[in-house]
């Protein structure tokens, strides 16, 4: 058995974290991407820049600020306590919040590009055929943006799987709660258990390769480029 009990727990936790993050991101980013694709507001530029920040910031910076904000003495942490809820750092849902921010651009940008590529014309055509705004969105915009949704789902899932710095800062290293695969590999290496590290690290390489290969096949079939 190449994987220990702890390894399997880490894999299960990673998949659960990535899946939860992916679903939440698709739901939350759709309106945001729609707004970015269609607005002429002067806030468009600043909002785009904020969305892209996680691309360039070191994960430790994101993790650090999240820890400060969500911690017991941070503004959001105090708000949570005021609501009678536990604070988020060092919990699974704390990791989810961190992953949402860490993987945000990987969901927003493909969706935004997909909505921009559709343009106004199909929506105008739908309006002249009697479809109201919400009807148009669900029956025309969403189906036409499907390649963008596939790309956003795959990228945000895969990027969350590869998360390390944010997890370490915000989640620590609690087995079964916050110890994801990347942290587990780190632990193995620290303990000089190279054979175990190989199995997990090699698995990550294969997984990442499969994701990117699948993405390129999917984009070729749908005729749209993945950005």
């Amino acid at each position: 058995m190449p994987f220990s009990q702890a390894d399997l727990a880490a894999i299960g936790l990673t998949l659960r974290l990535a899946g939860t993050t992916m679903v939440l991101l698709l739901v939350l980013c759709t309106p945001l991407a729609w707004w970015l694709a269609h607005t002429s507001s002067r806030w468009r530029g600043p909002v785009s820049a904020v969305v892209a920040l996680p691309l360039v910031l070191p994960p430790t910076v994101i993790g650090f600020y999240l820890l400060v904000t969500l911690g017991p003495s941070g503004p959001l942490g105090q708000f949570m306590q005021w609501l009678g809820l536990p604070t988020l750092p060092f919990t699974f849902w704390g990791l989810v919040v961190g992953s949402l921010i860490y993987s945000l651009p990987f969901a927003v940008q493909p969706l935004q590009h997909a909505f921009e590529a559709i343009g106004q014309r199909p929506l105008e055509a739908a309006a002249t055929l009697g479809a109201g705004p919400i009807d148009r969105f669900f029956t025309v915009a969403l189906p036409l943006a499907r390649p963008g949704f596939i790309t956003a789902a795959i990228l945000s899932f895969a990027h969350t799987v590869g998360e390390f710095g944010v997890v370490l800062m915000l989640g620590g290293n609690i087995p079964g709660v916050t110890r994801v695969v990347s942290v587990q590999i780190y632990d193995h290496v620290e303990a000089l258990e190279y054979a175990h590290a190989h199995w997990l690290a090699g698995g990550m390489v294969l997984f990442s390769f499969a994701v990117l290969l699948g993405l390129s096949l999917a984009s070729r079939r749908s005729g749209t480029l993945v950005q």
């Binding site: 739908a126 009697g130 148009r136």
Partner: protein, 367 residues
């Protein structure tokens, strides 16, 4: 309300101001038949159409169609495009790529209240000849087929007004020739008023009974097509494409010579033209006579190969290209144009009131 809904005029007072361009028009269009919005590119035809559809907001604007107010800024009335019950055919077909041809047509049909449906799906499909295409994806269609599907899709919503924005301009001449007969058939079969944007005068002459001539965001003239295209004070009656349009009735068709005889006015000799297609007596027919195919003589020519020689009176002589003059003629009450050289015009002393004979060399059947 006592006005007949189907024939109530279409009113559109629209102002659209954009940097470097202002549209300011006041249109009163017939509530039936085809009206062409005609003018050079950039004159505001498309903006006008979009403002009537509500895709762009005229400010202020007042649009009344079929007795229904679609926009009236004086009374804070605004109906969104999807609440107007209109049909719109864009310059590019704009089909939904994720739906089949049938899915595209159903899309509008399903959103049309049952009480308002007057065009059956089968009728729209039949009129545009797209039955064999129904199961296909838009991506698998040719340009002409796509535009026909787009027209069927708009028609299937039984629109109260059909707006068409240069539906043929993205097609090459072969595809154009493929789609045009469907368009003509559609206008003759369905009693839906059509507003047709075009910058091709031959299309307008074939399709439209009424036209609005636009220039730089304003209406230069509006009226019956036959009357506007022969007015020497307007640009249409000049140049190579200047032509008159005449409505007539087929008297007979000589199958041996392929000659169709058409009467167009009481007491005047009928027109004879070569037609490869047989026409039946009594059929209504629209003819187009180009100014460059009409020559003038002071005495009735004999021993000539020209079949049609009509007694006419010169009404007006105007300038045309250098060395050429455009002559407006009345044949009875029918207006014709003749383009002659400046030298001939002087030699024949052409002036209003002069009696002449118009020799017509070519006549085209428009529909």
């Amino acid at each position: 309300m006592t006005t007949d809904i189907s024939t109530a005029p279409i009113l559109a007072r629209l102002c659209v101001a954009r940097p470097g361009f202002t549209l300011d028009v006041d249109l009163q269009l017939p509530g039936r038949g085809v009206t062409a919005l005609f003018g050079p590119s950039g004159c505001g035809k498309t903006t006008c159409l979009r403002a009537i559809a509500g895709l762009e907001r005229a400010q202020p604007g007042h649009v009344v169609v079929g007795g229904d107010t679609w926009q009236d800024d004086a009374h804070m009335i605004w109906r969104a495009p999807h609440e107007r019950g209109l049909g719109y055919v864009f310059q590019e077909p704009s089909l939904f790529d994720h739906l089949s041809v049938r899915g595209n047509i159903d899309y509008g049909l399903q959103r049309t209240p049952v009480a308002r449906r007057r065009v059956a799906l089968e009728q729209a499909v039949e009129l545009l000849g797209i039955d064999p295409l129904l199961g296909r994806r838009p991506a698998a269609l040719s340009g002409g087929e796509r535009q026909r599907v787009a027209m069927a899709r708009a028609l299937a919503t039984s629109p109260r007004l059909l707006l068409m924005d240069e539906p043929l301009s993205a097609l090459d001449s072969e595809r154009k020739a493929e789609v045009l007969p469907y368009l003509q058939r559609l206008h003759r079969t369905l009693d839906i008023p059509v507003l047709y944007v075009s910058h091709a005068i031959d299309e307008v002459a074939r399709l439209a009974g009424h036209m609005v001539l636009m220039r730089e965001g304003r209406v230069r003239a509006q009226g019956h097509t036959e009357e506007l295209i022969v007015r020497l004070d307007l640009p249409l009656a000049h140049g190579d494409t200047a032509a008159a349009v005449i409505d007539g009735t087929v008297l007979q068709h000589d199958a041996a010579d392929h000659v169709t005889t058409v009467s167009f006015a009481q007491g005047l000799p009928p027109l004879q033209l070569v037609s490869p297609v047989a026409h039946t007596a009594g059929e209504a027919i629209r003819l187009r006579i180009q100014a460059r195919d009409v020559s003038l003589a002071l005495t009735a020519p004999t021993d000539t190969s020209i079949l049609n020689i009509l007694p006419a009176t010169v009404m007006e002589v105007g300038d045309d290209s250098p060395g050429q003059r455009m002559v407006a003629l009345n044949v009875g009450t029918t207006r014709l144009l003749a383009r002659v050289t400046q030298r001939s015009a002087q030699a024949l002393a052409l002036a209003p009131g002069k009696a002449v004979f118009a020799q017509v060399k070519g006549i085209a059947i428009v529909n």
